[in-house]
């Protein structure tokens, strides 16, 4: 009877939460593709897609339908299993990150206290890093299985770029962890919400700057989109992909963008914290809903900045990318870490 003693309500609660969060992020990613086109258009003095539905709002569905209807081509000489695994892995890795992101505090429903976070694990941010580095396998396997030299080159570029920038990202993160003393994203957010504490951006401006640049590189966004450099590598690692498999690769990029925006909001911008408002004075359910709104607003602002950068800055050359990563970002992150550590010790000693 041990099976029946299990807390079934918890299982249902988590399943519903997972479904809502996964489909919610997919839905947001869908409209991020639309937003990308609209932002690009507005920055270039164009109206952008405006034919499908009112203001072109059905455009992402039209795009998806088009991708699904396309002929699916698997190259003869490719490794079929790996070829199909590539986009799947990219998408899975992108979506898995959302498990540890605290979307808001908790709601009280049916006499239960439901945390709006799938899993508050005590190594939350490490988990994020682990999953994000798994995303590189999607690019690597896809590029390698295509049996095409351009794809392979793009895959190598993607892998080396991800490794170079993950280092600086991790180092800039250590300074945040020293401040909050926890790896759990929920307690990092809680620390920033506590009375008398400012958001981490106030203590870690340089750290945030490095983290942001590395996040751009991790998401393969311009100016770091070397793996898909159209002009030299013909589209890069997904050159041989067609139909929805290509869609998965392109879509995973947008999901990654949302997730890295959410992580940045949690680490440096107080997560679901609403500035200048004491959430404890509100009813918990209302506070939780407002918190979701606050986090989504921060994510949207970050995504807009991502796009704004994309449509402004041209791509780096490969040697410039490596120079920036190894000779600028990592020393800066190390210095930031040292200074933060010294200041914390000095404050504790005083």
């Amino acid at each position: 009877m041990t099976l029946l003693a299990f807390d079934w309500a918890l299982l249902i609660e988590k399943l519903v939460l997972i479904a809502v969060i996964v489909f919610g992020s997919l839905g947001i990613a869908l409209y991020t593709t639309f937003a990308e086109r609209k932002v690009a258009a507005v920055l270039q003095d164009r109206p952008g897609p405006n034919r499908a539905g009112p203001f072109g709002l059905f455009q992402p569905f039209a795009d998806g339908l088009k991708l699904i209807m396309k002929e699916e081509i698997i190259p003869n000489t490719s490794n079929k299993v790996l070829f199909i695994l590539g986009p799947g892995l990219a998408m899975t890795a992108a979506l898995m990150t959302c498990a540890v992101i605290p979307w808001s505090s908790h709601v009280e429903l049916f006499d239960r206290k439901i945390d709006l976070q799938i899993a508050d694990i005590n190594i939350g941010i490490l988990y994020v890093f682990g999953v994000v580095s798994m995303g590189v396998y999607g690019i690597m396997i896809g590029g390698w299985a295509s049996n095409n030299k351009f794809s392979l080159m793009a895959a190598l570029r993607g892998a080396s770029q991800a490794i170079s920038y993950e280092l600086a990202m991790g180092l800039s993160l250590i300074a945040v962890l020293m401040l909050s003393g926890s790896l759990s994203l929920k307690s990092i957010v809680g620390e920033q919400m506590a009375d008398g504490n400012l958001w981490n951006i106030a203590y870690q401006p340089l750290g945030f700057f490095i983290f942001f640049i590395c996040a751009l590189a991790e998401c393969n966004r311009t100016p770091f989109d070397l793996p898909e450099a159209e002009n030299e590598l013909n589209f890069g690692y997904h050159q041989e992909y067609s139909s929805m498999k290509l869609g998965f690769y392109l879509f995973a990029e947008y999901v990654n963008m949302i997730m890295s925006s959410a992580v940045m909001a949690c680490l440096y911008f107080g997560g679901y914290d609403i500035p200048f408002l004491d959430e404890s004075t509100l009813a918990p359910n209302i506070a939780a809903l407002l918190g979701v709104g606050a986090l989504l607003t921060k994510i949207v602002i970050f995504i807009f900045i991502f796009m704004w950068i994309r449509w402004t800055i041209p791509r780096f050359r490969y040697d410039q990318l490596m120079n920036l990563g190894w000779k600028t970002m990592i020393p800066l992150a190390l210095a930031n870490m040292l200074i933060t550590g010294a200041l914390i010790l000095w404050k504790a000693g005083a």
């Binding site: 507005v42 270039q44 003095d45 164009r46 109206p47 405006n50 449509w311 402004t312």
Partner: protein
């Protein structure tokens, strides 16, 4: 070396200063420029709903004209076909029968009159060559078509509507409405 023109400018090859090597000021400047474009007026003309006005001298699709009583002016003299540098015009002449005076202005008329819109270069020489004011270039262009054959316009496509029997269509074709 002597410069060929006085517009030659020496390219600065001096190494970048620290501020320049930071790239950040330049990037911020660029981002300010793109951001300012959000508020700019968009020059787009939303085509099917909105149309760009043609200039009055625009040379577009041909129109075969009729006179005030609705009779075709063309006499199939062939001067337009001779003038045409692209050899886009072909025609066949026919003689007017006694009961056709209300259809054709003169004793001879074009039984077949075809213009290949894919060959036509819209130079307007046919318009200049015509002694009877029968052919004009209008302010429209040839719409897309699925076949090459669809671009060979016959008399049905070219003739302007009859002003006596279809005055509304005629006014529309003239652009009076």
């Amino acid at each position: 070396m002597q410069a060929l023109t006085n517009r030659v400018q020496e390219v600065s090859r001096k190494p970048m200063s620290f501020m320049e090597r930071l790239y950040i000021p330049a990037i911020l400047k660029g981002m300010a420029i793109t951001f300012s474009h959000i508020f700019k007026k968009k020059p787009t003309i939303r085509y099917p709903e909105e149309k760009r006005p043609f200039s009055p001298v625009y040379r577009g699709l041909h129109v075969l004209n009729r006179d005030e009583e609705g009779r075709e002016r063309c006499t199939a003299c062939g001067l337009c076909a001779v003038a045409c540098p692209a050899e886009a015009i072909t025609m066949e002449a026919a003689e007017r029968l006694p009961n056709e005076e209300h259809l054709y202005r003169e004793e001879k008329y074009a039984a077949k009159y075809e213009i290949n819109m894919l060959r036509c270069i819209f130079c307007g020489l046919c318009e200049e060559a015509c002694p009877k004011d029968a052919i004009y270039l209008s302010e429209t262009f040839a719409p897309a078509n699925f076949t090459r054959k669809g671009f060979i316009y016959g008399k049905e496509e070219l003739l302007i509507p009859n002003p006596t029997t279809e005055p509304e269509a005629y006014a529309k074709a003239k652009g009076l409405q």
